[in-house]
């Protein structure tokens, strides 16, 4: 959160809407720890990350959907999940990411 704080505050000051995607749990071996955050603005800008780059594209899409719908969701990426075929973690772990609108 520290690493994206300034960027997110600047977006808010500019009146942008912001979605936050936070790693809430990892299983087996995963590149980033719980608490890692990626922020996405409604202008399409990105700050931070949730993995080593493997699933950021998919998370970006989820974040855009959440910005539009306003409905938070919990998304799983990893080898034991069907999404893995499309967006698997190359390291073989599983991560659970909570995606929400920053309206709090």
């Amino acid at each position: 959160m520290h690493d994206i704080l300034e960027t997110v505050e600047a977006w808010k000051r500019d009146g942008r809407r912001v979605a936050l995607a936070t790693v809430v749990e990892v299983e087996h071996s995963a590149p980033r720890d719980p608490g890692s955050v990626m922020a996405v603005s409604d202008a399409g800008a990105v700050a931070g990350s949730v993995s080593g780059g493997c699933v950021e594209g998919a998370v970006y899409q989820e974040a855009q959907d959440v910005l539009a719908s306003g409905r938070a969701r919990l998304v799983t990426y990893g080898i034991s999940d069907e999404q893995a075929i499309e967006h698997g973690l190359t390291c073989g772990g599983t991560i659970h990411v909570f995606v929400e609108r920053l309206d709090w």
Partner: protein
Amino acid sequence: MIFDRLSEALRNDRPVALATRLDGGASGAKLLVESRGAYGDLGSAGLTAAVESEARAMLDLGETAVRTFGLDGEPIGVEARVFVQSFAPKPNMYVFGAIDFSRAMARVAKYMNYRVTIVDARPVFATAARFPDADEVVVAWPDEFLAAAPVDSRTAIVVLTHDLKFDVPLLQTALRTDAGYIGAMGSRNTHAERVEGLRAAGVTDEELARIHAPIGLDIGARTPEETALAIAAEIVAVRAGRSGGRLRDGSNPIHPSRRATIR
């Protein structure tokens, strides 16, 4: 707003925990927990109170994880899953000796998110201008400073003075703390003399084993910058309980494996 409160606490390096409800109708509900007071609502008074107390305990340990409760906060329930993220204040690194190696050490430590204090008894050398990356530069006798400084298991004590008259009392003081890392610079000869001095002062073999000296991983570091990297890498390895060799020479998992509570 909770985000503004969180942001303010983080900026001022105050301990704070943020709890987020992950599912149900109140999905996304927040509770911000500080040392004094909590802000927000997780959907029921019982759940909010239960998470506040759990989050406070987790914050003390610097723990970040998902916890499950009943809808009214029952500890054995599983209906409400809550992600609690602890934001502990930065750990301290105390660097003793106001030399070029300390300047590089402060820079790397800052990058590693430490709060860095440089300590030296000589006012001419211990100046803020010489250590732009240090959070604080203190003119004091090293052992007297450390005896009064806050130290916990996340603290790194980096002794770069390599001068027996400072090092022996300083390391004795360091060994009385529960610092997670104690390292001392100096050649093998310097360290052998230091060990002799410490033994004479009554330090046991078990205590001596806590001192990482000569300091740093064996990467052939020459410059202050390279040496700072070798020390920082050793601090990470000690915390993780790893030896610090090459990954390609091993076969163990690179990241520690964890169990799941979600699904």
